[in-house]
């Protein structure tokens, strides 16, 4: 069981000792059910930290902001940043470490256990508790969540309202941390890619019809890209045209600024954007689900990344985010990599 006071005391001490600049965690929202990210730099504010099954966000994303902020400052504070991470989030940290985007010394990782369950999918929750107003959700025993509603407390089996990705999660507990709050639990995982079964059983034309319908909805708000910790490029490949060409821009740099897709949110361009994002995330995506959660039009983006995650495992035996020393998926190879598709 995660003792919330352990988390708060730990955070408070770190701040009192000045060991970290600030801590990124979750706090109760002033409005609405879902907690919000909080940046705590005063020890007394550590009391605001919470941990419950609605802490969906992947806070690792804010390490990218921190790096950018430091780059802009003349005399940056070089102390590490504290970060509260779930199992999935910690794998994102590992990927950033693997790519040398951040130094291990730049972060103080506070891992929290998902108590053998995970986070709640708000849509499934609303469906399950139709007529009731949910006030609070807590981790319970026996793989259950305890939901406090306006009509009393209810116990719900976690498998009924867990986010889809949690049902396939290989890392219920942080895989890298400086301190772990909660127990090392291990959930039995039968099939890591079950959510893909339905899609893979469709015919090719059915799959095409599905993706066509979904990606026509896309308004290219780029929320998926902005929410992803691994999309940290200063210049995204789909945005190169908008960056400045000055008198100092060399011919080579100009040649690199190719317009790959138009800004218009039409199907053909949307396809390239989502496709290339999935490819760039191959072997890096750790299925935190933030892209899909952020999407205002409910496009099921997770499937694109999950497919490549499955292929990376199946074809190359690769798992993302477990070993910060491992090379990235596409910067290494094996002699015996499959080539049956090559003529």
């Amino acid at each position: 069981m995660v003792n919330i006071e352990d988390l708060r005391n730990n955070a408070k001490k770190l701040l009192e000792d000045g060991k970290v600049k600030y801590i990124i965690g979750f706090k109760k929202a002033a409005n609405g059910l879902r907690p919000v990210p909080v940046f705590i730099d005063k020890p007394e504010d550590a009391a605001k930290l919470i941990w419950d099954p609605l802490c969906i966000h992947n806070l690792t994303r804010f390490l990218v902001d921190e790096k950018r902020r430091k780059a802009r400052q003349k005399e940056p504070d070089l102390r590490p940043v504290g970060l509260v991470v779930k199992g999935c989030d910690s794998r994102a940290v590992n990927v950033l470490l693997q790519e040398k985007f951040i130094d291990r010394a730049d972060i103080h990782i506070i891992g929290v256990s998902c108590e053998n369950t995970g986070v709640v999918d708000e849509k499934k929750l609303a469906e399950k508790l139709k007529e009731k107003t949910v006030e609070k959700i807590e981790f319970g025993d026996n793989d259950e969540f305890v939901v406090t509603t306006d009509k009393g407390k209810i116990k719900v089996a976690s498998s009924e309202i867990l986010a889809d990705r949690c049902l396939e999660c290989p890392a219920h507990v942080a895989v890298v941390y400086d301190v772990l709050i909660g127990d090392h639990t291990k959930r039995k995982l039968d099939d890591s890619y079950k959510s893909l079964d339905k899609m893979e059983s469709l015919t090719r034309e059915e799959r095409w019809a599905f993706w066509k319908e979904q990606l026509e909805k896309c308004i290219r708000c780029y929320a998926c890209r902005s929410a992803c910790p691994m999309c940290y490029c200063d210049e995204c490949v789909v945005d190169t045209i908008t960056f400045a060409v000055t008198a100092d821009t060399t011919a080579e740099e100009k040649a690199q600024k190719i317009k790959w897709i138009e800004k218009s949110p039409v199907l053909s361009e949307n396809f390239i954007y989502h496709f290339i994002r999935a490819i760039h995330l191959a072997g890096r995506c750790i299925d935190c689900g933030e892209c899909e959660r952020a999407c205002p039009l409910d496009i099921p983006l997770r499937f694109l990344n999950k497919k490549l995650e499955k292929e990376a495992k199946k074809l190359f035996g690769y798992d993302a985010g477990f070993d910060p020393e491992a090379p990235s998926l596409v910067s290494c190879f094996k002699e015996e990599d499959p080539e049956d598709f090559i003529r």
């Binding site: 929202a29 002033a30 409005n31 609405g32 879902r34 907690p35 919000v36 990210p37 909080v38 940046f39 966000h57 994303r61 804010f62 902001d65 902020r69 802009r72 849509k123 909805k217 308004i219 708000c221 780029y222 929320a223 890209r225 902005s226 929410a227 945005d239 045209i241 908008t242 960056f243 400045a244 060409v245 000055t246 138009e262 800004k263 218009s264 949110p265 039409v266 933030e290 959660r293 952020a294 205002p296 039009l297 409910d298």
Partner: protein, 346 residues
């Protein structure tokens, strides 16, 4: 003109609007969005709110402005491509979303009249629906001089009285639609009128959220340009663009030339939605960016809606629909940001 329409006659009225394209809220999975109605029986006004506002019809995300090309003789040919909008009716428009159109009319019809906007706008009739109960837990239209039964921007306002709608026609276009369904309408009784007044009064009481000290906000903002408040308020912002793309009043746009063929040149100039929240929105060709960080961009959004626009157009540019609050992935809440401004300035 005021009429009563029995709910079961709604599809028949729509059938009579053969000369128009009819849009109405339509369900797609878990979300609602405006779509063309093929079968009038499918229409339902039993919905909360759409993710994308009627802005998508009045000011579409993509507009081709002109086509260009070189002829075989090397002569440059440019063809203006003003949109051809068929006469259209949008049903189920929330009064706040209609007010947003009313505000955009001011922008695109001010000193410079945008023909692309008006070619569409002039052909579109907006039929509103009173919000008997707030469509969203984050509604706050009353704080920004709106209301759940506001008439700004609408041609007709419908109010649900249970088994029938109370219909108020507000413009000539509204009258025209009434005439196309004459036989289906009845005269409102005194009871109907009393019920309408009650529902509209109650609708205002049902709103849960409000901005405190809204009247003071523009002058408070004026003194907060250099404040570090914006750093704190924007800490968790992902600079994703959802708030602006879903916002019914946001209208910033980008223009790009899409070249299909390079020799001989053939292409089109396209206007698309853009957002001040993207880092390169204010990137100059010199490489300088006056809004290089999230703080300055959040500040810009708040200032535009609550200080610059009111100064120019005497209206807040926010209509209180709450979409930005509901859909922000990190829970940045514009009401809280403004309450923070009040506290800061106090």
């Amino acid at each position: 003109m005021e009429k009563i329409l029995n709910k079961k006659n709604l599809p028949r009225w729509i059938k009579g609007l053969k000369a128009f394209q009819v849009y109405a809220p339509s369900r797609d999975g878990d979300i609602w969005n405006y779509a063309l109605i093929e079968n009038p029986e499918d229409i339902t006004l039993d919905y909360t709110s759409t993710v994308l506002s009627p802005k998508t019809i009045v000011f579409p995300q993509r507009e081709i402005l002109l086509k260009f090309g070189t002829s075989n003789d090397g002569e440059l040919e440019i063809t203006e491509t003003l949109p051809q909008q068929d006469p259209s009716v949008i049903f189920g428009v929330r009064p706040c979303d209609a007010k947003a159109v009313f505000l955009m009319d001011k922008v695109f019809g001010g000193d410079f009249v945008d023909p692309y906007y008006w070619n569409r706008r002039d052909q579109i009739i907006l039929v509103g629906l009173t919000c008997n109960t707030p469509p969203s837990p984050n509604c706050f239209c009353l704080s920004v001089d709106g209301s759940p039964h506001s008439k700004d921007g609408l041609d007709i306002l419908m109010t649900d009285l249970g088994d029938r709608y109370f219909m108020e026609s507000l413009t000539e276009k509204g009258d025209e639609l009434f005439n196309l369904g004459k036989k289906l309408f009845e005269k409102p009784t005194a009871k109907d009128i009393k019920e309408l007044a009650k529902i509209q009064a109650d609708s205002e009481k049902n709103l849960k959220r409000q901005i405190k000290n809204i009247k003071k906000i523009p002058s408070l903002l004026k003194d907060m340009f250099e404040s570090s408040y914006w750093d704190e308020a924007s800490m968790s912002c992902l600079r994703c663009g959802i708030c602006t793309y879903l916002c019914p009043t946001c209208h910033c746009f980008d223009m790009n030339d899409e070249v299909a063929v390079t020799s001989p040149i053939k292409g089109q100039r396209v206007r698309t939605w853009d957002t001040c929240q993207f880092p390169d929105f204010t990137m100059h060709s010199s490489g300088h960016n006056p809004r290089p960080d999230k703080a300055s961009r959040l500040r810009q959004r708040v200032f535009h809606k609550f200080y610059y626009f009111p100064e120019r157009y005497k209206n807040f540019q926010c209509i209180g629909c709450g979409r930005c609050i509901s859909k922000c992935p990190v829970g940045i809440d514009i009401i809280q940001v403004l309450d923070g401004v009040s506290d800061h300035g106090a």
